[in-house]
């Protein structure tokens, strides 16, 4: 799938914009604050109905305007075209339509346009805390499995309720039963989340290892799902490259184990007032040649690992061959030319990619490809985008 045209109204600093793109590499360059990232952000709205910059909808609407609109024409791999339109009005919320038909739920949008977003902060994804790595896993899964998206949002809701129940806990039977009731629902939804992650991560790991070996010239990068819930054999590979299906766990089995872990830690949780175990504390462990990258990696090793992770994410999103749109937001400034070129050329293989940069020179990272062969350059300045 690829995005043929994007239309914006009252979006960030764009009053109105309609622009066509190439099914290949699209370079957007211009000064800082000119609106390059906003174009990528608009594309993320068409894919997942929200900002991948984690901005609120109200922030995205142009200053003083009542809302915003994003529209796009997506060309499917079989040649079919679909038009996605998302409208937001302050106070009224978001509406999405597909080919003019309003969608009942925002989650019905999932799968029509898939995106992999890569921003400068992501170059530290293997160095920092587990949140960023969980986000990568969740963003990937939510775009290929609408059931996962539903389970994850129910899980977050139930978890907040359980934490509040723990915070208000008093030593009496009634209070115990309220916490227990929320434990039941947290385990129900959480079991589905764990099962989804345990099934996807080995597929991601296999692809990431391969890309990493290609770019680094031989170092072995391995990924493993480290759930805070003891999963027994499942999800606990001894650090070796995770392949195959042996790590899979049924949602029902995951729910049982999670429920048991919640029961085991209950006394501690009552004292501390929040949930200590569950998918919200999972991690994706990254090892380089058998050693934990987080604790010893050099800057260059972290960057190479980040690129491999993002390439792996794009490959998993594209596993069914329908394509994925890659959004590289000002990442090249963080990378040396060699890594930058490796990233751009690999990303281009999945089909369409958008690359933002302050310098037009970024275009030179796609050697051999001339204008008109799926490569286009756009100059972005003060709410206008001009194709060269």
């Amino acid at each position: 799938m690829w995005l043929r045209e994007l239309r914006l109204t009252s979006f960030r600093n764009y009053r109105s914009l309609a622009i066509g793109f190439e099914n290949g590499l699209n370079f957007l360059y211009g000064p800082n604050g000119s609106g390059k990232t906003s174009v990528l952000e608009a594309i993320s709205y068409l894919a997942v109905a929200r900002s991948l910059r984690s901005a609120s909808d109200a922030e995205v609407a142009r200053w003083g305007d009542a809302g915003f609109g994003v529209g796009g024409d997506v060309i499917e791999s079989d040649g079919g075209a679909r038009t996605i339109v998302l409208r937001y009005r302050r106070g009224a919320g978001k509406e999405v339509s597909l080919d003019g038909e309003p969608l009942a739920r925002l989650s019905d949008l999932v799968g029509h346009l898939r995106v992999a977003w890569f921003c400068p902060e992501d170059t530290w994804i293997t160095k920092g805390g587990p949140d960023a790595r969980r986000r990568l896993v969740d963003m990937t899964l939510c775009q290929i499995d609408a059931g996962y998206l539903a389970a994850l949002s129910c899980y977050r809701r139930a978890l907040r309720q359980r934490n509040e129940a723990l915070l208000n806990w008093t030593p009496d039977e009634e209070s115990d039963r309220v916490v227990e009731a929320w434990s039941g629902k947290v385990a129900d939804y959480g079991g589905r989340v764990i099962a989804g992650r345990a099934a996807m991560i080995p597929r991601l790991a296999e692809k990431v290892s391969r890309f990493h070996a290609e770019i680094s010239g031989g170092d072995t990068l391995t990924l493993a799902y480290r759930s805070s819930v003891p999963l027994g054999d499942a999800g606990r590979s001894p650090g070796e490259a995770a392949t195959g299906e042996e790590e899979a766990i049924e949602p029902g089995e995951a729910r049982e184990r999670f429920a048991r872990a919640l029961g085991d830690g209950l006394e501690d949780e009552k004292r501390r007032g929040f949930t200590l175990v569950g998918p919200h504390r999972d991690d994706l462990e990254v090892k380089l040649d058998g050693r934990l990258l987080r604790t010893f990696g050099s800057q260059g090793q972290h960057r190479t690992a980040a690129i491999a992770l993002k390439l792996g994410e794009a490959a998993v999103l594209d596993a069914d061959g329908r394509g994925v749109v890659v959004l590289l937001d000002d990442v090249l400034s963080e990378l040396d030319n060699e890594r930058g070129a490796a990233l751009v050329s690999h990303m281009g293989r999945h089909g369409q990619a958008f690359v933002t940069s302050t310098a037009r020179a970024a275009r030179e990272l796609a050697p051999g490809a001339g204008e008109g062969e799926g490569v286009a350059c756009y100059h972005v300045n003060e709410g206008e985008v001009v194709r060269e």
Partner: protein, 201 residues
């Protein structure tokens, strides 16, 4: 800017405070009202006041009623050993419309939601427990929304009622009747699959 005469404007504002009535609908209703006869307007106004005065809650089930106990709780022909637990009084009407249920009801007046400060004491749970003890119930059917809050409340009630030896059930979750499989959302379809029914027997 041209505006309506002050009294009409006030009517529009009052109507606009009602649930589900926006400014446009409020204006349409108000314009229709001032074109109707005085008798019609008086009847509407009187009925609003009367409905508010006369409608109370049943002391047994908590449903809306003009008499206490309500016609459902007072009906000797209904199965007194069967109680269906619902969140709101309007849920009683929804279940009555099915014409399939011959037991009685119990309105909880909400669902457990720690985030909104709603615990067991804010709900009509004590009176349900009392009923389970005194009325010698055979079965309690939990008919709460299949949301996180509804299902957690069901788990809580099941745990609370279990020692009383009463049978506890909850409504099935699954595919909408007459619906199409590929239109069902993934969580519903997953639940329907888990709670599938045996047809071989």
């Amino acid at each position: 800017m041209l505006s309506f005469p002050p009294t009409l404007d006030r009517l529009i504002k009052l109507l606009g405070r009602l649930p589900g009535v926006g400014r446009k609908s409020a204006t349409r209703i108000a314009l229709r009202l001032i074109q109707s006869t005085e008798a019609e307007c008086r009847e509407l106004a009187r009925t609003i006041v009367e409905a508010r005065e006369k409608t109370g809650r049943c002391s047994i089930c908590g449903g809306y009623t003009e008499d206490d106990p309500c016609p459902i709780c007072a009906d000797e022909r209904r199965d007194a050993s069967l109680v269906c637990v619902v969140e709101r009084p309007s849920d009683v009407l929804a279940l009555e419309r099915t014409g399939r249920y011959g037991g009685r009801y119990h309105v909880l007046d909400g669902l457990l939601s720690p985030l909104d400060g709603i615990g067991p004491d804010e709900l009509r749970i004590d009176s349900l427990v009392e009923r389970a003890g005194e009325e010698n119930l055979r079965e309690v059917i939990l008919a709460l929304n299949p949301t996180a809050e509804g299902e957690a409340t069901s788990l809580y009630l099941a745990k609370t009622l279990r020692p009383m030896g009463v049978r506890i059930s909850r409504l099935a979750s699954g595919l909408p009747v007459g619906g199409e499989l590929d239109l069902a959302d993934e969580l519903t379809l997953g639940t329907a699959l888990e709670e599938r029914r045996d047809l071989s027997a």
